[in-house]
């Protein structure tokens, strides 16, 4: 971990409540994300995973409840350039090259633009030879690599990933999932990630929270007992298979509860 940087924060959510019109997305929601760990949020579509992520990022505000990021508010962390978020679509600016997109993040975070660091990072995420290419000419996987580079260049203390590899094919997805996480693990970052894929959640995280259908509750809190760095062979380890079974069972439990609730109405 770099000495000039505050340690990664923990994230404490207390009684968070968020509704969109009549739809209750989070109804008193409590959870703590440990500092320096990667936590995956898994749950059915529309259960409120992304909403939670957006609340942490300060992109939305909760109707009530408390959210503290290492004792600070989301706005304070954002303002200090301590936060980075990646979405399912890479959301690169189409008129800027890969380099230009990464440089913009530094500028927005009010950091000096460090050309050497940018080029080094882009090479490390595997974009060698495409530094001056615009997103339109990059493949889906390459765009996600650039988006991750954009996130990491500001050396955020908090990294938020909203299905970061959701828009690419299975093979690329697995490749990105193996290659990229070591980059942010080595930086000592608190990472929260949303995913639909149980396999991806296990591969990328230290802890998995399985959420129920709306309004979200934590159904299961699973610790992933695999070493780092992760490798594809780990899929055959008992720890992997146990985690997979636990998470899948919890998801099925949630679905059954939802069906029961519907039938009861």
């Amino acid at each position: 971990m770099a000495p000039d940087r505050a340690p990664p924060p923990d994230i404490v959510c207390r009684a968070l409540d968020k509704r969109f019109g009549d739809v209750e997305v989070l109804a008193p929601f409590d959870v703590t994300f440990e500092a320096g760990k990667t936590t995956a949020l898994v749950g059915p579509s529309g259960c409120g995973k992304s909403t939670l992520l957006r609340l942490i990022a300060g992109l939305d505000t909760a109707d009530s409840g408390e959210l503290s990021i290492g004792g600070q508010t989301a706005d304070a962390v954002r303002g200090a350039g301590g936060l980075a978020i990646a979405f399912q679509d890479a959301s690169l600016l189409p008129w800027r090259t890969a380099r230009g997109n990464v440089a913009l993040a530094q500028r927005l975070a009010r950091q000096p633009v460090d050309r050497v660091a940018i080029d080094a990072l882009l090479n490390r995420v595997g974009l060698t030879g495409f530094l001056d290419t615009r997103p339109g000419a990059l493949s889906g996987g390459m765009r996600q690599r650039a988006a991750i580079a954009r996130c990491l260049i500001t050396r955020p203390r908090l990294l938020l990933l909203d299905e970061p590899f959701g828009a690419v094919d299975e093979l690329t997805r697995r490749q990105l999932g193996l290659e990229l996480p070591p980059l942010w693990r080595s930086e000592g970052t608190t990472t929260v990630m949303v995913t639909h894929s149980v396999t991806e959640a296990i591969f990328l995280s230290d802890r998995i929270l399985v959420l129920s259908p709306r309004p979200a509750r934590v159904l299961e809190d699973v610790e992933v007992r695999l070493g780092h760095p992760r490798a594809s062979e780990m899929m055959e380890q008992a720890e992997f298979i146990d985690a997979f079974k636990t998470v899948t069972a919890a998801l099925e439990r949630g679905e059954a509860q939802r069906q029961n609730a519907l039938a009861a109405q």
């Binding site: 957006r54 303002g79 978020i85 979405f87 959301s91 975070a109």
Partner: protein, 525 residues
């Protein structure tokens, strides 16, 4: 098209009322502030005046609306047929679009008098000009709509072994309906404008005739009354069509800003120059063919070779050219500053409105309503206010350009791609930096699309105001040539104006392509 096709613009009732009240209050205030100057008649005065002359105005409105309605019908019918043809014969699309644009760029100020001679008295010229004023925008809208169909839908039709015609009828026609409605919304005010200009050329009845009378008598109240009537009619038609469409289609018509920069499918595409040359050749043949087939007197219906003689090979050719050039320069001096001022003001205001949250959503419906007002009919008013110099013409051109650019830019600013705005927000980038890094670049395609589409409108505005009000430039030269039966000059000016407008359009399109290749690369293949 700048990906605006799927966007909708809402017309919340309260906002419209608020907007209308603001406009009326500003107007009344202006009238009160300039009392005695005989420039501005306030809304109360105007309503009184209309009430006192209710019968007269009702008859005039009836006549104008009838011409506009016929022109609207015929022009839109032609537009739909042309668009269908362009889709069925992709190879011909470039030429069809080129011819359509060229016809649209013909200056109404010249075609009006020529049509008057062809048709004599009656409604013929009004209806034709109304049709000419509407067909291009509808053609573009329908074409955009027909092309907006996902390729997989067409593949589905093909997979059942059916052809292009079936695809057009079963799939594309329905998909294009909302776009057609958008086109019709823009067409309604344009039809009224066309009918008015037709009436200016020597009709016996209608709002256009009353306008000329009011101008001659320097009747400020009547001038304001007619401009208001035309504006209210246009806005009502625009809103009415939107309302009906909403009921029938159950969706808001898309906001169409500009057609995509012309490009064919790669395997069909001729080079731009070849398409241009072919279009010019066909246009010349059509011109000559119509003249020969219709047996119209070559005294007033000049052939291409007559124009050549007039401008190049006759004894007075040099003098003719000099006269045309002098007027042309005069027009350019009003047109260019006005055009660029309109672009700047439209984009500038859009940016300002975006910086104040909430303001742009209030401004949008007002701007859309005001765009529907036939701005050219305010020419007499404008000259009353700013005088007969080049400034008057420039201001009118600027106003004409302003509204479409404002609407396009507001729209462009509101839609940065993907979740880019969220990314900006996650760095707490703030309003200014989000504007500079994300919104402004995202606005550029919309801006250039509007800049291109407003070229013909700007030319129309400058020639009409020169003709009706300032008595300078090409507009006045056309009017003078028409009244002196100097048809050689009239046809020459018409040709020069149309070709210049097309050239201006093409120049902006070129610039637009360059910009799009950087800022919206997915749209230029």
């Amino acid at each position: 098209m700048i990906r605006a096709s799927s966007a909708t613009v809402h017309f919340p009732g309260t906002r419209m009322v608020m907007g209308a009240v603001c406009v009326l209050a500003a107007w009344q205030g202006l009238a009160a502030a300039t009392t005695g100057a005989l420039l501005v008649a306030g809304p109360l005065e105007v309503i009184n005046h209309i009430a006192e002359n209710a019968g007269l105005y009702a008859r005039a409105v009836g006549v104008t609306l009838s011409s506009a309605a016929w022109g609207f019908l015929l022009g839109n019918l032609a537009a739909v047929v042309l668009a269908a043809l362009a889709i069925l014969r992709p190879r011909a699309q470039g030429v069809i679009s080129g011819l359509a644009l060229l016809t649209f760029c013909l200056p109404l100020v010249a075609t009006g008098p020529i049509l008057r001679v062809v048709f004599g008295p009656g409604e013929g010229p009004q209806i034709t000009l109304a049709a000419l004023a509407v067909y291009y925008t509808t053609y573009i809208s329908v074409l955009v709509g027909l092309r907006a169909v996902p390729a997989t839908w067409l593949d589905l039709v093909t997979s059942y072994g059916r052809g292009r015609g079936t695809a057009l009828w079963r799939v594309q026609a329905y998909a294009a309906l909302p776009y057609l409605v958008s086109g019709l919304q823009i067409a309604a005010p344009a039809a009224i404008l066309g009918a008015l200009v037709g009436e200016f050329t020597g009709a016996e009845r209608g709002l256009g005739v009353l306008t000329l009378q009011a101008m001659r008598d320097l009747d400020v109240t009547a001038t304001w009354a007619i401009a208001s009537l035309a504006a209210v009619l246009s806005i009502m038609l625009h809103a009415g069509i939107g309302w009906i469409a909403n009921r029938v289609l159950n969706e808001e018509p898309p906001l169409i800003l500009a057609p995509p920069v012309a490009r064919g499918k790669p395997n069909y595409s001729r080079s731009g120059a070849a398409t241009g040359a072919l279009t010019a050749l066909i246009a010349l043949s059509l011109w000559w063919g119509i003249a020969e087939i219709s047996q119209l007197s070559s005294f007033f219906f000049k052939r291409p070779d007559d124009v050549w003689v007039f401008l190049v090979s006759s004894d007075t050719a040099a003098q003719n050219r000099a006269e045309l050039t002098a007027s042309g320069l005069e027009t350019a001096r009003a047109l260019l500053p006005g055009y660029f001022a309109g672009l700047g003001a439209g984009a500038g205001l859009a940016i300002l409105l975006t910086l104040v949250p909430g303001l742009s959503s209030v401004a949008m419906p007002i701007a859309i309503a005001l765009r529907a007002a036939p701005i050219v009919t305010t020419a007499p008013l404008l000259v009353l206010v700013v005088g007969r110099g080049a400034v008057g013409s420039a201001v009118l051109v600027a106003v004409m350009v302003f509204f479409p650019v404002l609407i396009a830019c507001l729209h462009g600013l509101s839609r940065a791609p993907g979740q880019v705005l969220d990314v900006m927000d996650s760095y707490a980038a703030g309003r200014w930096r989000t504007l500079i890094y994300a919104r402004l670049p995202a606005m550029l395609p919309a801006f250039f699309g509007a800049a291109r589409m407003t070229v013909p409108a700007a030319v129309l505005a400058v020639t009409v105001v020169e003709w009706l009000a300032t008595g300078r430039g090409l507009g006045a030269l056309m009017a003078l040539s028409a009244s002196l039966s100097n048809y050689g000059m009239l046809w020459s000016v018409t040709l020069v104006v149309a070709v210049s407008a097309v050239a201006g359009y093409a120049a902006v399109a070129r610039l637009e392509r360059a910009v799009l290749s950087v800022f919206a690369s997915e749209q230029v293949q």
